[in-house]
Structures are given as C-alpha cells and as structure tokens.
C-alpha cells in the first residue's frame, strides 16, 4: 500500500524513498514520529534533554541504516526498535540520570484545594513508582498505556508472543501498584532500583 485512504503517503512508502536516496522524505517521517518517540524516551529516561538527544540519535541511525530497511514490517515498529537500541547504548556508556526528587511532587508550590492536592500527590508518587519500576516493566507500561500500542505490535517489537506480553503487562502493573502503595505508606521508601538502569534479567 502506497497511500492511506485519506490520500496521505504511508510511512513505509516514505521510508522506501529515503532508502533510495530521497533524504528529504526523512523530514516528513520526523514530523510524524518525533513527538511519539520523544514521549516514549522521556518517560523511559525521566529526562527531557536526554530524550531529545536520543530522538536525534534515532533519526541519525535511520539515516545511516536506511539501506537495511526491507519494507517487510511496519515502519513505526522498526523505528521503536531503533529507539530501544539507542536508549540501551546510551546508558551503557553513562550513569543513569538522577532519580526524580521529592521536590517534583510539588512543582508549582502554590496551595491546591484538598482533593486536588491529594490527587496531585498520588499522581506524583505514581510517577515516582513508575521510575522505580524495573526498566523492562516500565517499557511495557509506557508502550501500552502512553503509546497505545496494540498487543501484537508490542509482541513484534519485543520478539515475544502476544500471550507473553499479556503476562508481562499483568506483572508490571502489579509491581507498579505495590511500589506505589509502599511509597504511600512511607514517602521516604526507596528501592535498590535506579532510574534508567538496565534490566537485571
């Protein structure tokens, strides 16, 4: 398929053009995907500047490895595969970014109405719990919840069966909730996990 029903050219067609040397088409792909990539990477790293550098790195890699594009799968899956590798390579040579600090729980400092205050505090703790979650589990939650990726697309990206994706999502959300509850019991509770660290298994 070369175009969508609304007449726009598909990502795969654009990437094919990039592969053949029409590098300007990479600009269109960038416009279509950089926000999603940035969102994925900033939620994974907890650092906007790092995420921005990584998005840049992803498109540099697309450019460099354009010859390896075979047009057999979905472009966005290929792109996220590159993003995962770029992120892993980045943290292989650098220490993880600093974890989110307590101050982040009250970003504005302005007084808030009771319910909203509680809700904001809960969301801030959940965010902290998410960053304390092991990286491979956080990745699943980010892909499914924030990127809205379908189960079969996640399975394809991670190279596992759909059933395995379901089991892992279940475990990840369960662990997220446990960390969140423990943070609620004791705000100073910390785990040995650190932000941006690589999975241990």
């Amino acid at each position: 398929m070369f175009t969508h029903s609304d007449g726009t050219v598909t990502d795969e067609t654009l990437m094919e053009a990039v592969r053949k040397g029409d590098l300007a088409k990479l600009g269109i792909l960038f416009e279509r995907h950089h926000r999603a990539l940035f969102d994925f990477l900033v939620r994974m790293t907890g650092n906007a500047s790092t995420a921005e550098d990584l998005v840049q790195d992803v498109f540099v890699r697309v450019l460099k490895y354009r010859g390896t594009w075979r047009g057999e799968g979905r472009f966005d899956t290929w792109l996220f595969r590159i993003a995962r590798n770029a992120r892993a390579d980045y943290f292989r040579t650098r220490p993880p970014d600093a974890p989110i600090d307590e101050a982040a729980e009250h970003p504005s400092g302005a007084p808030l109405p009771g319910d909203l205050l509680v809700r904001n505090r809960d969301v801030a703790r959940l965010q902290r719990a998410l960053m304390l979650l092991r990286e491979d589990k956080r990745e699943l939650i980010v892909l499914a919840r924030y990127r809205g990726m379908k189960l079969d697309a996640i399975a394809d990206l991670l190279g596992i069966e759909v059933g395995a994706v379901k089991v892992r999502i279940h475990r990840a959300v369960k662990e997220l909730r446990d960390i969140f509850l423990r943070l609620n019991e004791s705000p100073s509770w910390k785990t040995t996990n650190s932000v941006g660290s690589c999975p241990t298994t």
């Binding site: 600009g27 959940l126 998410l130 924030y146 059933g163």
Partner: protein, 249 residues
C-alpha cells in the same frame, strides 16, 4: 484509546476483582504528564544532519582510475596480480592458521564496519552542529565530540578553531573541557597556551590556566609569569596565573 481498559490487556485467567484493582492504577497513569519536545530545535538539528550528509564531498575517484593506454593496462595487470597474491595468502592463512570460525568472523567484521560508519556519521553530526548559528547547537556539537571514540584530526581542528574564534563564552568553555581528552597532543597544548593571551573572557582564561596546570605544561610558565605581572590583566586571572606558576614549580 483501545488500551484505556487494562482488563483487555491481561491474560484471561486473571481474577476479575484483581483486574479491577489494577485498573485503578492503570487509569491513574493517565494523570502523569510528559514534557513536550522543542520540535523546532530538534527539526533544525535534523536538517543540519541532512544538509551535512547531502553536501558531504563525493568520493573522488582515485588517481589511477584515470590512467589510460599501455601504462594503464600494465597498472591494472599489476593490480590483478597483487590482488590474486593477497587472495592466495588469505586462503592459506584461513586454511592452516585460523580455526574454522568463518561465520562469526564475518558477522563481527560486519558489525565493526557498521560501528565505523556510525562513528563517521556521529563525527559529521558533531562537526555540523559546531558550524550552526545557534550557540546552543554549537555547544551540543562540542559536547557530542565527547561521545566519539576516536575523533579524527578534523574534529580536533574544529575544537581548536572554536576555542580561538567562537563568539560565545559557554561554547569556548565547553571546548576547553572537550580538549582535555587530547591533552597528550602537543598541538593542543600549544594552542591552549596561545589561546590564554587571545581570550577576552577571564572565565575562559582561568579554565585554560587550569587545563595547562592539569596537563603539567611547563612551556606555559613564561606566559603565566607575564600574566601574573601584568597589571592590566583581570585580577582573578592574574592570581590564577600566579597559582599556576606555583603548581608547575
């Protein structure tokens, strides 16, 4: 969104009550905002890369390529013989010396070729960023050089050029840091000595003095002595120069 309801993403055998409990956490995730990217800046950086790639000098054909006549024929014949000899030696080494690990060797050489290409592109990106109008892009370019495994002479020249001529103090300061990796090179140390005199910014002068002390560059002693005694030089720079002299002994 299809994934708004967690139960659709869980295995079928998960207890309904448990699924509902987890779904509350799942829905609360929606409240976590993420920052928005600076799309214009990111696009400008990508355009700089594309520009650099498209305007990279096309490979010039080697000189022997234009040979003609008898000279050319003789030359190609010699080349053919040399290639055959290299091939035979290679086969011999492969058969008698190297164990049968052809496949891994192939893939590892492929990976190393890809790494080398990646390195070249990163280098190109760094150089391209260092030529941008925006100081923050140039700063990024200088910082990116820190990610290069084995930067070429071109990168070092660009850093030295930025140290001498970049109008932005922050870029020049970052350049001093970036050049520390190459402190073993005499041209870099010499350029650092020259740069102290040329700098208008006391901050950069002090950073350079620290650099020279750290690298134990004794040839900078006359320059430091002169600075330390010059009453027209910024007081902080003068006292740093005196301190530097002391350190170098």
């Amino acid at each position: 969104m299809e994934n708004d309801k967690l139960s659709r993403l869980l295995p079928d055998d998960v207890d309904r009550r448990e699924a509902e409990g987890l779904d509350a956490t799942w829905r609360m995730l929606d409240g976590i905002d993420a920052p928005t990217p600076d799309s214009d800046r990111m696009r400008a950086r990508l355009d700089a890369v594309l520009d650099a790639v498209e305007h990279a000098a096309p490979a010039t054909p080697p000189r022997w390529f234009s040979r003609s006549g008898a000279d050319g024929v003789r030359f190609y014949a010699m080349q053919g013989l040399a290639a055959a000899a290299v091939l035979l030696v290679g086969v011999a080494i492969g058969r008698y010396v190297v164990p049968d690990t052809t496949r891994p060797a192939d893939s590892s050489s492929e990976i190393s070729a890809m790494r080398s290409e990646m390195r070249e592109l990163r280098e190109m990106v760094s150089l391209s960023l260092m030529q941008q109008q925006s100081a923050s892009d140039r700063l990024k370019g200088v910082t990116w050089t820190g990610q290069l495994d084995r930067p070429s002479g071109e990168v070092i020249s660009a850093l030295l050029d930025a140290l001498m001529h970049d109008p932005n103090v922050n870029v020049r300061l970052a350049t001093v840091d970036a050049l520390e990796r190459f402190a073993s090179r005499e041209d870099v140390r010499r350029a650092a000595i020259d740069a102290v005199d040329r700098q208008m910014s006391p901050l950069v002068q002090i950073a350079l003095i620290d650099f020279l002390v750290k690298t134990n560059e004794r040839q900078s002693a006359p320059m430091l002595r002169r600075l330390a005694q010059d009453r027209q030089v910024n007081t902080a720079v003068r006292s740093r120069a005196a301190w530097g002299l002391q350190q170098l002994g």
